[in-house]
């Protein structure tokens, strides 16, 4: 089959670096570094204490190693845990005060912060390495009582809310990477939607790793109070580097009675080159608690980047009649690996969950769906529906489905469906004969395959995601 000729720089157009002076914490992981981070963020003492408790626990923890994609040992002492553009210690009050180079960076990424304010109607929080550099639309949101700001700012200005909810879904006693994050998290977004408020616009955070030898540990906390609704989207990119960079984020969602949170991710970290050199290790813990009755949390993820993606956005369905959803597209091309899925923990009565997972593997890519559905003895009349579809391109890639099902309640119902298919040369020939070139044909077939998931994305991002899905698979059929 004809190999597509693509300029490598076109394959990952976000691979540039921004030449900007930065302030870094000393290399390595120790109490001093944690104090440095806490200090530079002007955190209250309780936050530092919390971090240090997490750190002391971390010392007794080991990295989990049950996952399918293996990776070389990470030297945690050889990383920087804090890197920030110089001058960001004093938070800019308006976009005009933000370093023009940063504004330019986001423009290159397709996020024009200034225009965004005027045109698109999406509120954006932009996180560059370890700090948040700009949040748009703040005033309009404040009118409704909505808080959308960097988490470092929330720790200072809304300590009661943060104190009450941080670690309540992902405690500091969790697994290695989650606890590491609790010790060293640098920035991320904080969202609070007051009772009865429907957030009038999409909230969005854009994460960007720029500095080398730096890990990114962001922490996001979203609280939807009773009867409120919010839709939140995160996007991610990083420069092309030979080294593997660690990204270990924690995301906690809390939905109270009758509240709904829709959380979408378009993950396009640098995936490494076509020989598998470099790329981001995307080891992320995402968990939502449907704490109130009739609450709903819906995760949608489009995972196209990273050398290794390892994450299970989960729902703890505590409230009666609560609903958890997980829609996922995971693409692995070249030497990318993904081990992703979800956990649906049914605790309340009449709880419902739905899992739609679409795994696409091309090149030497390896894709694992791993998911847990647990129905506890008290979760009467609960239901789960799971559908896992895998699409293979070429002969060197792999797809695996590992469902774990635990049902302790006889009035509950669990369904699981799985399919595996392959894009054939015949199908491509058919599309070519109708005038479509290889990339267009693949994009069409793959977008058809994952349509159910892409439809879940907010409209503003669905088109972008469709294009991304096409680009990620260029040259994947050898």
């Amino acid at each position: 089959m004809k190999q597509s000729t693509i300029n490598p720089s076109e394959e990952y157009k976000y691979g540039f670096t921004t030449d900007i002076e930065s302030i870094r914490a000393p290399k390595g992981l120790n109490e001093d570094v944690i104090k440095f981070i806490s200090n530079i963020k002007k955190e209250p003492h309780w936050m530092l204490e919390w971090r240090l408790r997490a750190y002391s626990r971390l010392k007794n923890l080991k990295e989990p190693n049950w996952q399918k994609p293996k990776y070389p040992k990470i030297d945690y002492q050889d990383l920087y845990y804090y890197s920030a553009p110089k001058g960001s210690e004093n938070k800019p009050k308006s976009l005009d005060e933000v370093d023009p180079k940063l504004i330019e960076t986001y423009k290159k990424l397709g996020i024009s912060l200034k225009e965004q304010e005027k045109l698109s109607g999406v509120a954006v929080d932009a996180v560059f390495d370890s700090v948040s550099v700009a949040t748009t639309f703040k005033d309009k949101l404040t009118e409704k009582g909505i808080i959308f700001c960097p988490i470092s700012e929330a720790i200072q200005k809304h300590p009661d809310l943060v104190k009450k909810y941080i670690g309540s879904v992902i405690p500091i006693t969790d697994h290695y990477f989650a606890t590491l994050n609790s010790a060293v998290f640098t920035d991320g977004s904080f969202v609070y939607i007051p009772e009865g408020v429907r957030c009038p616009m999409e909230l969005s955070t854009y994460f960007r790793i720029n500095a080398s030898e730096t890990g990114q540990f962001e922490r996001t906390l979203i609280i939807a109070d009773k009867g409120s609704y919010v839709s939140y989207l995160e996007g991610c990119t990083a420069p092309m580097r030979d080294e593997n960079q660690l990204h270990a984020a924690n995301v906690e969602l809390i939905a109270l009675d009758d509240a709904e949170i829709k959380y979408s991710t378009i993950q396009n970290w640098y995936p490494g080159d076509e020989n598998g050199k470099g790329g981001i290790y995307n080891f992320v813990t995402k968990r939502g608690a449907c704490r109130g009755k009739n609450s709903k949390i819906s995760w949608t993820q489009v995972e196209t980047g990273s050398a290794i993606t390892w994450k299970y956005p989960s729902c703890i369905l505590q409230g009666d009649n609560s609903v958890g959803e997980f829609y996922s597209v995971a693409i692995t091309n070249n030497y990318q690996k993904a081990d992703t899925g979800t956990k649906m923990i049914h605790l309340g009565k009449n709880t419902k969950s739905k899992i739609i997972s679409k795994g696409i593997s091309g090149g030497h890519g390896d894709n694992t769906y791993r998911g847990l559905v647990r129905i506890s003895s008290k979760a009467h009349n609960s239901r789960n529906y799971t559908q896992c579809d895998s699409l293979l391109m070429g002969n060197k890639c792999g797809a695996h489905t590992v469902p774990y099902i635990e049902n302790k309640n006889s009035s509950s119902n669990i369904e699981h469906e799985a399919t595996t298919s392959k894009i054939s040369e015949e199908q491509l020939f058919y599309c070519n004969q109708r005038g479509l070139n290889q990339e267009e044909a693949i994009s069409l077939i793959v977008n058809g395959f994952c349509k159910e998931v892409l439809q879940q994305l907010p409209m503003e991002f669905a088109v972008e995601a469709q294009k991304l899905v096409g680009i990620s698979l260029e040259g994947s059929v050898g």
């Binding site: 070519n432 004969q433 109708r434 069409l444 058809g448």
Partner: protein, 247 residues
């Protein structure tokens, strides 16, 4: 339109076309008949650019070398093939596939792309004219289609894409009489002074509905005999074997 000069094609070392010559002028309808394994489908595949063949000889399409063009460029330049076995593509909506295809081709031809509304109007008119149930438009491309529906869908695509040269690869096989009529009506409606057809078939039956200008008998990878419509009827009577002996 099309000029094929001593074309040979082999697959895995086995020669299938062997010194094949054919000239098609604008507006002409050529039928190619031949027994199983005579190379009919290979001819269609080689002309459209399918991979996997070792090819010798020359093919000129509108005066230009065809064999070096990628598959999609041949299609964009107006070469269309109705597949013998149209492919199923799950998840891809038939309507969307057709629209993407048409707009890609329109773009190359320097025409304005059709928006969804204009496209829908066009496709509705065409399905109606062809007496094809428009429900197939909202189904996944060829998925779960009956044999007849698949072939009708090919004719619908041909009608919408308006090719310059259409190759029909055994489109008639497996069709009942009603579907056969839809297929041949579709072809006849498209016949014009500029548009040419290459109709590959086993049976003379289709040629009762589509009157070809020329009928060629393909035996062992080359044309053994050329005639007009009566040749097909004669073939039907005596069979390919006797024809071969006559050669």
């Amino acid at each position: 339109m099309l000029d094929i000069k001593s074309l040979s094609a082999s697959i895995d070392g086995k020669k299938i076309l062997d010194g094949f010559d054919l000239k098609i002028k604008p507006g002409e309808v050529h039928a190619i008949m031949g027994p199983n394994g005579s190379g009919k489908s290979t001819l269609a595949n080689v002309l459209t650019g399918k991979n996997g063949y070792e090819i010798k000889g020359q093919v000129f399409y509108e005066g230009k070398d065809l064999l070096n063009l990628p598959i999609e460029e041949r299609a964009q330049k107006g070469l269309f093939m109705a597949f013998q076995y149209p492919l199923e593509i799950p998840g891809v909506n038939t309507n969307n596939f057709l629209k993407t295809s048409l707009n890609t081709i329109r773009k190359v031809r320097g025409l304005k792309e059709l928006d969804s509304l204009d496209f829908l109007k066009l496709v509705k008119t065409k399905t109606k004219n062809l007496k094809i149930d428009e429900k197939i438009l909202n189904r996944q491309l060829n998925v779960g289609f009956s044999g007849g529906e698949k072939k009708k869908n090919e004719i619908l695509q041909m009608t919408i894409l308006e090719p310059k040269l259409a190759i029909l690869d055994e489109t008639d096989s497996g069709l009942d009489i009603d579907a056969l009529r839809i297929v041949s009506d579709g072809v006849n409606a498209l016949r014009s002074k500029e548009r040419s057809f290459l109709i590959i078939t086993h049976y003379q039956r289709l040629l009762d509905y589509i009157k070809p200008d020329f009928v060629h008998v393909l035996v062992n990878g080359k044309i053994a005999k050329t005639g007009c419509g009566e040749l097909a009827e004669e073939l039907e009577k005596v069979g390919y074997e006797r024809m071969e002996i006559a050669k």
